[in-house]
């Protein structure tokens, strides 16, 4: 049996008196599209940041690609791609320069075959000379994903990648995500859109830092009597906050 892509045990993060993530225990299998849902402030971003080695856990542990993040965060960073909730592109660089930069940081020479592959995969060829700051939301998202993909990461962490993007662009983006998953990449994605949640193989719902539901979209919906995922989301959250 191959090891899980992500395995957390009692993962906890506190900011002063606030417990942003509270004893989170979950397992994400390889090649799975795993959705992380939850209202604002429920700890999704904090969870992803800990899995990426950007924040140290206050308690508990997390294995990412079999590596303990607290022990060897730099090794984890070799194997993951990350799209932050606030897209961190260099807006004063062109699309091509952003890609060149990340290719260089990941140890590729400029203008390698890999770069051409990523450009083709995300259909960025015609926009290489455009400043990243002048791209529309959907294209910014694609460029950010391209930058996160250059080094062929085994795991991809996407924090609200489609926030503020129009429906057509969102659909295209999800096609890309499924393509990646078929090719074996594990994808952890957060979202507030239920239609996107439906497309995940499995879901975790968070509220106030802890897990309130876990399973396939159908299993989660069944927990509240087989209604829609959106109903489940609202009902489970209200129960938790009571």
């Amino acid at each position: 049996m191959s090891p899980s892509a992500v395995e957390t045990h009692n993962l906890t993060r506190r900011f002063g008196a606030v417990t942003a993530v509270d004893a989170l225990t979950l397992r994400i299998e390889q090649g799975e599209v795993f959705g992380l849902l939850g209202p604002n402030g429920s700890g999704k971003t904090t969870t992803i940041r800990m899995l990426c080695g950007l924040l140290e856990p206050s308690q508990g542990s997390a294995l990412v690609a079999g590596i303990d993040v607290a022990v060897a965060p730099e090794q984890v960073k070799q194997r993951i791609g990350y799209m932050a909730q606030k897209v961190g592109l260099y807006e004063d660089l062109t699309v091509g320069e952003n890609l060149d930069f990340y290719a260089g940081i990941y140890g590729f020479r400029r203008a390698t075959a890999r770069l051409a592959e990523v450009v083709a995969f995300l259909e960025l060829a015609e926009r290489l000379g455009q400043l990243a700051g002048q791209l529309s939301g959907g294209w910014k998202q694609r460029l950010a994903l391209a930058c996160a993909l250059i080094h062929r990461p085994a795991l991809l962490f996407l924090d609200e990648p489609t926030a503020g993007v129009d429906p057509a662009a969102r659909r295209r983006f999800w096609h890309t995500i499924h393509d990646l998953a078929h090719a074996g990449t594990t994808v952890l994605v957060t979202t507030h859109y239920m239609d996107e949640a439906e497309q995940c193989a499995r879901l975790a719902m968070m509220s106030r830092g802890h897990l309130i539901a876990l399973g396939t979209p159908a299993e989660v919906a069944a927990q509240v009597g087989g209604r829609t995922l959106e109903d489940a989301f609202v009902i489970l959250q209200e129960r938790d906050e009571r």
């Binding site: 940041r49 730099e74 932050a84 961190g88 004063d92 660089l93 930069f101 260089g104």
Partner: protein, 370 residues
């Protein structure tokens, strides 16, 4: 060896060229400083515009007027007739000084009475008037001595103090100010630019994206600051060239040594900028911190006020700012033409600053978000 340094360097270089704020700071700060202190340079009192009222019109009167002119403090702009014209010229600001040679002047000289001259000075600018007054008194004294010596039948003066201002014979303040300006400009721009460059990445969210890559702390920091080393060296070159051709400041010593020491100073300043970036959250805080660092540097280093004239506490505090040592080195090299044999202590201390600041900023900089 640091494979990710070059992409970082290249990126930073492109951004530096495109970012208007950074570019404005790089060009603007030196220009403003040169203007501000160029103005200070103007207070170097030379050539006070002067009107002359020569009532006697004799060889003696012309001789003494020439003596005044020779001091360099008085530049004769007009000859006028009558006292009212003198007062008018000064009141209107056409002249800041007037030399009045009365009708009786040559006669009194010959007869051995006290011959009087009147020097009128517009004292609203104390600095300008003081040195004009001193010059006037000195001219009269010199004349007195000459006449007395002759009267005593001696061929030469009984006593003379030969004051030789070394290294800056013209006592010109540009020579003192401009080399110092190199240090002030570097301190200000290097600290500010690096602190801003990191904080900007944090504010824009690109730092989060960057530290999730396998780039090492060292590669990130070095790639970030190295382009600015070039900026610093260019700034110094520009100030020195301007100083040489606009303000006539000599470049006496070993220029290679100067560049070497400046490099150390630049590295120390950049490292401090990195350190500042780990302490602040916003670009505005970075700016405030950099200016907060500037102030003691300018005030205590001896850039504006001579350190010897400071209270002892201020002198002690001055020993803690790097600019103090850099000023000694720049002035030493440029004005005195001395080398390492005289300056090694300062150079060592500067290197010490650089090492300590680098260690401190590397320690404080983390590849995490908290």
């Amino acid at each position: 060896m640091m494979p990710r340094f070059w992409p970082m360097f290249r990126k930073e270089f492109i951004q530096m060229r495109r970012d208007h704020l950074t570019f404005a700071m790089m060009i603007g700060i030196p220009v403003i400083q040169l203007l501000v202190f160029g103005y200070a340079i103007q207070t170097d009192v030379r050539n006070l515009p002067t009107v002359v009222l020569d009532e006697s019109r004799t060889p003696e009167s012309r001789d003494i007027i020439q003596a005044f002119q020779n001091t360099g403090n008085f530049r004769i702009v007009a000859h006028v007739d009558g006292r009212p014209a003198v007062d008018r010229a000064i009141a209107r600001g056409e002249a800041q000084a007037a030399i009045v040679v009365p009708y009786e002047y040559p006669r009194d000289l010959v007869r051995g009475r006290t011959a009087t001259l009147q020097i009128i000075v517009d004292a609203s600018d104390p600095l300008a008037s003081q040195s004009a007054i001193a010059a006037a008194v000195a001219v009269a004294h010199a004349r007195d001595l000459l006449i007395l010596t002759r009267a005593a039948g001696r061929a030469n003066l009984p006593l003379e103090a030969r004051v030789r201002p070394r290294y800056n014979p013209g006592l010109r303040s540009p020579n003192y100010i401009v080399p110092g300006l190199v240090g002030v400009i570097l301190t200000m721009t290097m600290v500010l630019i690096t602190a801003m460059a990191i904080v900007r990445e944090r504010e824009r969210g690109t730092l989060e994206q960057l530290i999730v890559t396998p780039i090492t702390k060292t590669e990130l920091m070095l790639g970030k600051i190295t382009p600015y080393v070039g900026v610093g060296l260019l700034q110094m070159t520009a100030v020195l060239i301007l100083g040489r051709f606009v303000f006539d400041v000599p470049l006496t010593g070993n220029i290679l040594l100067l560049y070497g020491v400046t490099l150390i100073f630049i590295i120390a300043s950049l490292a401090f900028g990195l350190f500042v970036s780990t302490l602040v959250r916003t670009q505005q805080q970075a700016m405030q911190a950099s200016f907060g660092f500037m102030l003691p540097n300018i005030l205590l280093s001896g850039f504006m006020f001579p350190r010897q004239a400071m209270p002892e506490v201020a002198q002690w505090l001055g020993l803690m700012v790097p600019l103090t040592y850099f000023l000694k080195v720049v002035r030493g090299i440029l004005l005195k033409g001395v080398g390492l044999e005289a300056l090694w202590r300062e150079v060592l201390i500067l290197a010490g600053f650089a090492v300590v600041l680098i260690v401190a900023s590397v320690r404080r900089f983390h590849k995490t978000l908290d």
